[in-house]
Amino acid sequence: MIEVVDLRKRYRSAAAVNGLSFRVADGRITGFLGPNGAGKTTTLRILLGLVHATSGRATIDGRTYRELADPIRHVGAVLEASDYHPKRSGRSHLRALCTAAGLPWTRADELLQFVGMESAGRRAVGGYSLGMRQRLSVAAALLGDPQLLVLDEPANGLDPEGIRWLRDLLRAFAAGGKTVFISSHVLAEIEQMADEVVIIHRGRLVAHENVGELRTRTVGATRVRSPDAARLGAALAGEGIEASVDGDRLSTAAAAARVGEVAAANGIVLHELTAEAPSLEEAFLELTAGETAL
């Protein structure tokens, strides 16, 4: 289990992480969301022992990363895809990691095959695309057959096929009872695979909930197309319902049934009445209002 308790990190005058606390349960996929600069990467790097916390603690199964014996057998991490020597081959990179971890070199070849890079693995990493580097990062993370995967924006640089590959891989990983903690700005991806999400904003916890529960907390939208949209807007306002009108289109947070009733009562013709379910993105934007840049 990942446990973060009152974690703080200051860079000179700026607080990157500011009293953050949460727990990530075993055997689940947990998304880690927040706008740019929210403190996601800093938190993950503190968890992995790469960045020193100003105060507080971040532990894995009750121990800091430095305290783990043979850490890559417990935790696999996918961080920046640029962290490679450009003249070293992907295969040699994995072999060096295998040697340091006491794993046989055959493990490197197995993982290269697993991520679909058995031939590219012999080439220097400097010639790899960003997507290939991400695959290599995933291979490196899986070398020790860990119980926990920590991923920081792993979909960066992956094409749609690569994103699907990653999603299937993480699902299969979690299906084996293992834990995935993944930060991403691709909310649709997180929505499709995560069981729960931790949302942070300005270094603080904003929400930590099951994805489904988070959606229900968010109001959906009703969209209407009508040749009489302006009159419908006025009729809704008369009922105390706020709506925005743009030409023949109207949108409101009110339920579609209620909008339909008001339109019928006023004899207003509707060409379209659509109830849109709340999405994780809407929930995210509501929770981090004012900091929408992802």
Partner: protein, 238 residues
Amino acid sequence: MNRLLRAELVKLRTVRSLLWVTLAMVALVGISVISVVASAGSIESAADDRSVARISAIAVVFALMLGIIVMGAEGTYGTITQTFLVAPLRERVLAAKAIVAAVVGVALAVVAEALTVVVARPGVSLNLHNSRYVLIGVFIASAAAGALGVGLGAIYHRQGPAIITAFVWLLIVENVLSIGLRNGVKYLPAHVFAASVAGTRGSTESDLLGAWPGAAGAVLYAVGFLALGAALLSRRDV
């Protein structure tokens, strides 16, 4: 520790830095010793023997560069992140790199000395007995320079600035300091390393320590740079 040592050797073997450094050193030593053989008739004194043998001390500078690359390249290319994910105890990583750099430094010294002896012995009748302390000193100084380079690489966390600093110090700073320090100049790092490969006892008039105090000083400098590098590395966010 054994795993980390082997991993560092794998890293060295799988890029060409070691090859280029070795080739550059061989070229420089080769040109230097051939020039001496071509211009001199034969060696006439023990001092001449030591002077020719000191050509192999070029290995010390290349060992320093290689030590910097062993540590600094990890920061330059960001591979230190994955290194610390596998081995989060940073002091152990630094120690492994220092040992490997010291061993490679000795290997460079072996190559430089072998080349010097192979060319100079028949060419100018180099006397190995007279130059033995120089050759031993080059071994020690190359090992110390390799380890010192790792410390310097850890201090800077980048290979480029560390290499530039080393050369600016060797070529400019220490010469400028020597004007003001007079007798104290013999304790500056480049002079200490020079003393370790001089193969002489040193004297009160000389601006160098004796060979053994020089060798001890070179090792102390290496330990000092490694200690400072370890202190900074353990606190650094990567």
